[in-house]
Symmetry: C2
Subunit: 209 residues, 2 copies
């Protein structure tokens, strides 16, 4: 069980542990020391031990970590074993990339529907899912158990739609737009992906000696 007040920095490292452990498991590695895991992940053994201690440890002195066991434990902490139904809104280039690129089921979500306002895209199929018109969002959410939305539309489109989504009960958002959802509604969980901020950060780092 996670202890109270685990820092966001530690939490953001958990998916990375999960990812590396999944790879090690796929390679047939059964157990690993914190030193070896640190080397694989370009981290330090003490960082790894500290991070995992936030969730109660898992290692055995002199043995190291069971790769499969630790992967499973971290998966449970992340909640990957209990997938939530999610809808994707926006089937343009970015939406298509997101829909086809990610293995939602392994990441704690089940993508059940895709919505779009552009008539040319409605009726097309993505990941075996037929793209529906935006007008059907409200009814769909009400009739299905949906609590998460992935937003790949521009800021203005999110601004226009957010009240409806919130009032239908959507409380968690994977947000690719620059619209600040958490500012409008306090009782929501939002993970923002600001691609342009990331690119500007790269440009900044290129200046540094």
């Amino acid at each position: 069980m996670p202890k109270e007040g685990v820092s966001i920095q530690v939490i953001r490292r958990l998916p990375r542990y999960y990812r590396y452990l999944s790879e090690l498991e796929a390679q047939g590695v059964e157990k690993i020391s914190s030193t070896k895991l640190a080397s694989v992940m370009s981290s330090t053994a003490s960082q790894i031990r500290q991070d995992l201690n936030c969730f109660g440890g898992f290692g055995q002195q002199g043995y190291g970590y069971s790769v499969a066991g630790l992967r499973e434990e971290i998966g449970k902490i992340l909640g990957l074993d209990r997938p939530h139904n999610t809808i994707l809104i926006g089937a343009g280039n970015l939406g298509r990339a997101i829909a086809t690129h990610l293995n939602f089921e392994k990441l704690g979500f089940k993508l059940t529907a895709i919505f779009e306002k552009d008539e040319r895209l409605i009726g097309t199929t993505l990941r075996g899912i037929t793209v529906l018109p935006d007008e059907e969002i409200e009814q769909y959410i009400k009739e299905n158990k949906i609590d998460t939305a992935i937003l790949t539309m521009p800021k203005e489109a999110v601004e226009n739609l957010i009240d409806k989504l919130y009032h239908c009960g959507i409380r968690s958002y994977w947000n690719f737009s620059h619209y600040d959802i958490a500012k409008k509604y306090e009782d929501v969980v939002v993970e923002n992906v600001h691609l342009s901020d990331s690119l500007m950060t790269l440009r900044y780092m290129m200046n540094q000696p």
Copy 2:
């Protein structure tokens, strides 16, 4: 001029300042106090003053910040006024989304070429740029002044290509794959975008009370 040792947290906030100031400028706002800017950005006035002081200030006591002036200064700190030539490798769904979604010129880069190994995509046009075969990457980099590559291929493809890119002189990478470039080469600048980590983080946050 940035002072020595500005933390990565502060640096990661700079693009966000730039983005909000650009919006305020577009709305015709000429000057703004740190308190008002904090309110717009869901930040605090003291955080903003502290952050900007890392780069020498810019505000005037009792006047606040000039929106256009501060945007321009932050743009210079980020290096947006000196765009670098970049190539995109991978014209699949993710590459297409990246190529069409972002305004590279405003983000400090100039996208000059796109490469792909899938023959069905070679010769198609993205953002007015004809997609070229992977085999031409080396020659293209040598004949043009390219120092940055955007990688939207899978991990294995990056693993196979990275030595060639490095030896052609590419030293900065916007990396969407899970391949750890900085582990292989120390004298490179890498900004990783791990979409699956972001989605897992959202799933974790949904568990929290």
